[in-house]
């Protein structure tokens, strides 16, 4: 359906003019371009970060990510905090989905000090992790429409997310920062009737996802706006270190839960959600399917988990928990992709180094900068959200 009159794809050779190396040169002085900052105060960017866009008309010529607006120096702060004290601090590293930080830090600490977590605690961790994933997906899946002006489902999504947050509040005592998974185990058993209430919510969320399907997924304009936009060629995936839904939308079967099973994910039955188009729509679709998987996983967990059990393994006194020298790599699957902690212990009560590498670290900087070139300025926020850029985990 290429329509030559309306196909405004210009002859790219005209501008920007390439230099000797074939690299395009964007000269602001030439008056052909204007520089636009999206962010840090801009409704289209995810969180507090900025994109420096050089545009010509509506087209982005050059994009540069600016981060650091949320830099708190966590990795420095860890040097001054005991292992147990790291855990409330660590979770602030990813605001929308804090539980993965709790889990990774706890797991790393346990691995380094050789502690095995009781089985019950493991299952409870899985509940928390999956609920966190669901909670994020309820923001991002309808939120994908929000980036291009379809704010209604995003608003609904926030309500259904509230339901999960209610369950979190009940289980963990916190709404956003749950601080539930801690080194050695978890901080509370399921309250009475929790499973039933969660199941009720899951039913509601399933019905809501049907609605999202109707309003967002099969929406003519949404498809028009997202298909073929922000295509990540499959060969870029490894080159740019993309993981999670971005990799899966490009046809790669990558899911930490299946590839490197942690907790009891190997006892659950689920599959990779793979798409092949690798555009914004495909990534949205992968996430949409992830919602179903997550709901299914939550049901499986509730069915398979033991009724009773220990909350927490016996650990050394947390006030002076010394961990012998060693290093480890902990990974888990966040809603955005592979989430890693690299931990080095030096035998003292303080960790030597805890380094976080979230998926946004590569998605939000190199990949985004690359994808935005020649994109329409209207699609910038849509592409950014489809990569699920989360600035706090880039900056820590």
């Amino acid at each position: 359906m290429s329509n030559t009159i309306f196909d405004w794809k210009k002859d790219r050779s005209m501008f920007p003019e390439p230099d000797k190396d074939g690299k395009p040169v964007v000269e602001l002085d030439s008056q052909k371009y204007i520089k636009v900052w999206q962010g840090p105060n801009h409704p289209g960017v995810t969180g507090n970060m900025a994109l420096e866009l050089t545009i010509s008309g509506d087209e982005v010529m050059e994009a540069k990510t600016h981060v650091g607006y949320l830099h708190r120096g966590f990795e420095k702060l860890f040097e001054r905090r005991r292992y147990m004290q790291c855990f409330p601090t660590s979770i602030r590293m990813c605001v929308p989905e804090p539980d993965i930080n709790e889990y990774n830090l706890s797991r790393g600490t346990e691995l380094l000090s050789g502690i095995e977590v009781p089985e019950m605690a493991g299952w409870l961790r899985m509940i928390a992790l999956e609920m966190a994933r669901l909670q994020v997906l309820l923001r991002t899946v309808p939120g994908q429409g929000g980036t291009i002006g379809l704010g209604l489902p995003a608003q609904w999504g926030l309500y259904y997310r509230e339901l999960i947050l209610d369950r979190f509040e009940e289980l963990t005592g916190g709404r956003i920062y749950h601080m539930y998974i801690l080194p050695g185990g978890v901080r509370g058993l399921l309250p009475d009737g929790f499973k039933k209430r969660l199941e009720d919510n899951l039913v509601k969320i399933e019905a809501f996802m049907k609605e999202v399907d109707r309003v967002v997924y099969s929406n003519a304009v949404f498809k028009k706006r997202t298909k073929g936009i922000g295509v990540v060629p499959p060969e870029w995936i490894d080159q740019y270190g993309a993981t999670g839904p971005v990799a899966r939308a490009a046809g790669y079967k990558r899911d930490v839960r299946k590839d490197y099973p942690y907790l009891y994910y190997d006892r659950l039955d689920f599959d990779y959600n793979v798409e092949h188009e690798s555009d914004v729509f495909a990534r949205f679709h992968v996430r949409r399917k992830d919602v179903d998987t997550t709901i299914d996983l939550l049901r499986q967990i509730m069915a398979k988990m033991p009724e009773k059990g220990e909350l927490r393994a016996e650990t050394p006194n947390v006030l002076h928990w010394k961990i012998p020298r060693g290093e480890t790599l902990v990974r888990c699957e966040s809603s955005r992709g592979e989430y890693l902690f690299y931990m080095v212990a030096d035998g003292s009560i303080y960790p030597r180094r805890i380094n976080l590498r979230g998926p946004s670290y590569t998605h939000g900087v190199v990949l985004l900068e690359k994808l935005l070139v020649n994109a329409n300025i209207s699609d910038v926020s849509s592409i950014m959200v489809s990569l699920a850029t989360c600035p706090p985990e880039i900056e820590r």
Binding site: L28, P40, N41, H42, P43, G47, N48, G68, Y69, L70, H71, R72, G73, K76, L77, R80, P88, T89, R92, V95, P96, R139, Q155, W156, L158, Y159, R161, E162, L165, R175, I176, Y177, P392
Partner: protein
């Protein structure tokens, strides 16, 4: 503290903001000092409120129509969308998000402020028009919170911006934020929320504090 003593004055300035010369098409050489030439160098004035019933009426209107700058400065901003979600629906209290500082009257500092963000927050605040209000969320704005020992986050907000209302919590829940809005409304209606005038009166003190931290001050003293 700094090891290098001979830092050029414009070291931190973006290239386009440095003093430079431009040659016009007719060969005329023009010296440009962007900071002085492109930006308004005026300082803010104290805008006296009206007297009596009129001011009371206007304050009521200001209180019932709080336009918040949609700027999530810290992690507290994760609780701002739920504020406008179906469950809490802050719209019905006259609260609304605006994407541009010009049209907003309320700046929510949602938690910690990294030095880099502080600069933007100050800029946003100064671009807002009198009367303007600041709500500070969470521990971080009161005394540094979790990041009291971080090298990149400020400890107390009241040294940099006049704060009207503090809300405790890490982060405060939407309900608490709504309570904060109620408090702010009370404050506005009582005529005490004159943060903008306070800022204009004590500009020197605020600027000294701000400039102590923001080392690359590549903007005019007051950013209209």
């Amino acid at each position: 503290m700094s090891e290098k003593k001979d830092i050029p004055e414009d070291m931190f300035l973006a290239p386009e903001n440095r003093k430079h010369t431009v040659t016009g098409p007719d060969g005329e050489v023009i010296h440009v000092d962007p900071l002085n030439d492109y930006f308004c160098q005026d300082l803010p004035k104290v805008e006296a409120p009206y007297k009596g019933v009129l001011e009371k009426f206007l304050n009521w209107a200001r209180a019932e129509s709080l336009w918040v700058l949609a700027y999530g400065t810290g992690c507290g901003s994760i609780e701002l969308p739920p504020l406008f979600s179906p469950r809490f629906d802050a719209y019905r209290f006259g609260v609304m998000m605006r994407p541009t500082p010009r049209q907003s009257g309320v700046l929510i500092i949602s938690g910690y402020l990294a030095v880099k963000t502080l600069k933007r927050a100050i800029r946003s605040y100064e671009q807002m028009q009198n009367p303007k209000y600041v709500i500070a969320l969470g521990s971080c704005t009161i005394n540094g919170g979790m990041y009291f020992d971080s090298y990149n986050t400020i400890n107390r907000l009241d040294h940099y911006l006049p704060v009207d209302v503090y809300i405790a919590g890490c982060m405060p829940r939407p309900e608490a934020i709504l309570a904060g809005f109620n408090k702010l409304k009370e404050r506005i209606k009582s005529g005490n929320a004159e943060g903008a005038n306070h800022y204009a009166e004590n500009l020197e003190w605020y600027k000294a504090n701000q400039k102590k931290i923001i080392k690359d001050w590549n903007m005019p003293t007051y950013n209209w």
